[in-house]
């Protein structure tokens, strides 16, 4: 019985993680991050756009005729979403979890002074450094890998175990973001079907697999993941997510408020966000 409770709690925590991730990432997303399912076979879209830009609209708005906008700087990502019905269900579930569980917890966290919460975030980010270092190196971005290694060494020592970020504050070395999903994308692996993960939010097959690999490079996993069932690690991840959410400026609320269809908004934003990260 007790064991089952534990599993239940663990399951809930795991679910919560995605939501937080969504909120924190995409959003600013916000507007938000996403799993990219770019189907290359959707070329007709692009040609249509180019068309729209270069031909004069049939209407009478004369000024429109010379807007050469559509051709160059836009890529439209068509998201491959064969599981939309299921995804929308999970999206609905995550939405409820966000407003009734995660957000109230995050609001409670806000009683802790912000600098402390920023330190906690720094601490977890520092433990996560191997993910960035390894993936930057795997993509042949050795300058970025060195940059991250320097940050890790500096922040672990001068930054007192990663609580502070002297690399950025004093030396101007800013963090890069790399992960296994990006590495796969870098080598041409497409996003696969779009997935909304329970608790974790927008993802896709490629990034979901990447996320699993990432946890195996997270030092927190080796510190707290020793018990067979990983409950401690899941707890740590949940704390990390809630803390990050407490620092987030209501990105998801903004999306809910502005978007005609928040599901589509998050899905498309995630695709763009990830493609942008991969292209960098």
């Amino acid at each position: 019985m007790v064991k089952h409770m534990k599993q239940l709690i663990a399951a809930v925590l795991v679910l919560l993680i995605p939501v937080c991730g969504i909120a924190a990432g995409a959003v600013t997303l916000a507007y938000t991050g996403s799993t990219n399912l770019v189907t290359q076979d959707s070329a007709p879209d692009n040609s249509l756009l180019a068309d729209a830009g270069t031909t004069s609209p049939a209407g009478t708005v004369a000024e429109d005729d010379d807007l050469p906008f559509m051709d160059d700087d836009d890529t439209v990502l068509d998201v491959y979403d064969p599981l939309e019905t299921v995804n929308r269900g999970i999206f609905w579930f995550n939405d409820k979890m966000y407003f009734y569980v995660m957000k109230p917890l995050a609001r409670g966290f806000r009683y802790v002074p912000e600098p402390w919460r920023v330190s906690l975030k720094n601490f977890f980010n520092n433990l996560y450094s191997p993910v960035t270092i390894i993936n930057a190196a795997l993509q042949g971005k050795f300058a970025d890998a060195g940059n991250e290694l320097t940050r890790f060494a500096t922040n672990t020592t001068l930054g007192i175990g990663g609580l502070f970020d002297p690399s950025k504050e004093h030396f101007g070395i800013r963090a890069k973001e790399e992960d296994t999903g990006q590495t796969l994308g870098h080598y041409g692996v497409g996003p696969g079907p779009y997935l909304v993960l329970p608790f974790l939010g927008p993802s896709n097959l490629r990034d979901g697999i990447g996320l699993f690999a990432d946890t195996r490079m997270d030092l927190a996993y080796y510190i707290w993941g020793k018990d067979k069932d990983n409950y401690d690690y899941l707890g740590v991840v949940a704390i990390k997510m809630i803390n990050n959410l407490s620092l987030d400026k209501d990105t998801y609320e903004g999306i809910k408020k502005d978007a005609l269809d928040p599901y589509l908004f998050v899905r498309d934003a995630y695709a763009q966000y990830r493609q942008n990260q991969i292209d960098k």
Partner: protein, 209 residues
């Protein structure tokens, strides 16, 4: 005091010559000026809320080319739409974009904004800005084009996500499923909803549920 005077002068100038900038104004200067003006309005406690929103709105309107944005957002659907539908779309879309953009800026009122660089190519430009917040740095890029010697914003890219592209994919899907009329009806509904809502609380004490 002197500072306030300068502020008044600056604001006065902005309003007196809303859309423009001389030929020599660079894209970065243009964005810098607009962002500073909007932030100053947000920080000015002497303004009534409604008054402040109206002033911010006027600034955004002067700097954003909503027609170009609408055209890009609708893409092929723009060609198919009637003149009346286009006007209706521009009107609704500008209200939604203003709201999204202002909401975003409001959340970061007290943060510093840096201008790491710009790229100019012919009559188009991208101005990079970086909002430096305690917990994260948020890249916000503005795409501008030159129209009658003034630089106008036609897209905003927040953390790699273009507002216009993002709206385009969602809107396309809605048009496909519900037709152009369905899209306009949904937009109208959203605009009404936003107008009936009380002014947003500051992010850190937000009680939105």
């Amino acid at each position: 005091m002197l500072k306030n005077m300068l502020m008044v002068l600056t604001l006065g100038t902005m309003f007196a010559f809303p859309v423009h900038g001389s030929a020599e104004t660079s894209p970065t200067q243009t964005v810098h000026e607009s962002v500073d003006t909007i932030l100053a309005l947000l920080r000015d406690n002497t303004l009534e809320k409604a008054d402040r929103r109206a002033k911010i709105r006027a600034n955004v309107k002067a700097r954003f080319d909503f027609e170009a944005m609408s055209q890009r957002t609708l893409a092929t659907n723009w060609k198919k739409a009637s003149e009346q539908e286009r006007q209706q779309f521009i009107d609704l879309f500008s209200q939604l974009i203003e709201n999204t953009y202002i909401g975003k800026i409001e959340a970061y009122t007290n943060e510093k904004v840096e201008y790491p660089g710009e790229k100019v190519k012919g009559n188009k430009a991208v101005v990079e800005t970086l909002i430096i917040a305690a917990s994260a740095d948020i890249p916000v890029d503005y795409r501008l084009y030159k129209k009658d010697d003034a630089w106008l914003v036609y897209d905003v890219i927040i953390e790699g996500v273009s507002l216009v592209s993002n709206y385009r994919s969602s809107y396309q899907e809605i048009v496909m499923k519900e037709g152009f009329g369905g899209l306009l009806a949904k937009m109208q509904e959203k605009v009404d909803e936003l107008q009936n809502e009380p002014a947003p609380a500051p992010a850190d004490t937000a009680t939105s549920t």
